[in-house]
């Protein structure tokens, strides 16, 4: 079972399909859960620990808007753990402020530079595109399973 970074990282469809095809989706919701349930961490918005800015600074300089660094602090554990990635473009709901837009660009850039298997797709808009979409994700997940078996 490989840990697959999905982008958009809160996608219902991607997390479901990855889990359905036998792998572990790395989603933002797990990071959020940790942030709000771990003992010793306060409730939002004062749950920023001293470690978070350091994580953000790994990816972006200090003069980059704090929104980008804050978001990168949440996404850091996902990027670190990722053994493969599925990136979906043209997701309407990932549209947002400049902090969101730049973070989205930065995450895609970091994943592309990481030496991991990667699948890039576009969100389907009809049944035929959805069939191809599902099939490509299935084939990608199966290729990861075969790869893991060969290494073992």
């Amino acid at each position: 079972m490989a840990k697959i970074l999905i982008f958009p990282s809160n996608s219902l469809i991607l997390s479901d399909l990855v889990a359905r095809f036998g792998h572990e989706p790395l989603t933002l919701m797990r990071v959020i859960r940790k942030k709000i349930t771990e003992v010793g961490i306060d409730s939002p918005p004062i749950n920023v620990t001293p470690e978070d800015p350091k994580k953000g600074l790994k990816y972006a300089a200090v003069d980059v808007p704090s929104g980008v660094r804050g978001r990168m602090a949440l996404l850091d554990p996902l990027i670190e753990e990722a053994e493969a990635a599925i990136i979906v473009h043209e997701a309407d709901y990932s549209f947002g402020c400049m902090g969101c837009a730049r973070t989205n660009e930065l995450v895609k850039y970091i994943v592309r530079n990481k030496d991991i298997p990667r699948l890039e797709l576009v969100y389907p808009t009809n049944d035929d595109e959805a069939r191809v979409f599902v099939r490509k994700i299935r084939d990608f997940c199966e290729s990861l399973t075969h790869k893991a078996e060969v290494i073992a």
Partner: protein, 148 residues
Amino acid sequence: MASDEITKMVVLAESSPILPSELALRAYELSTDAVVKETCYGLIVTGSEQAVNETIEELRKLDPSGIFVKDRGFPPGDSRRCRAVRGGGPRPGFHQLEKESAILPSISYGLETIEDPLDVKQQKKRDKLKIDRFIEIIEEQSKEDVNG
């Protein structure tokens, strides 16, 4: 909430014949330790990881290609997310769910037909228009215009 508890959202595709109330009834029948909340899109299931996963595994059997599951960070009714406490308005995450729900029937269809070969006719439709055919269309159209 204990930190070992997890929460998952069960979302029904519009094309699914199952109703959220049927899902909730089935979840109660299972009598696991998971707590279930019925919503307009499906269910929120919360509890220990084992109980939640067992419940979802059984629920999926009702409609394997029409039931979708994802993690949720906040437990149900959490005051930091609950609209009753925050003064109304869409719950954070609602717009994402709304957008993705719209294409769930297509994804569901994709899962149902995953083993079927892709339709050759549909693939042909997407091919670019051949230049010969394009010239024919222009000639036909110009003849019609002259006659008309």
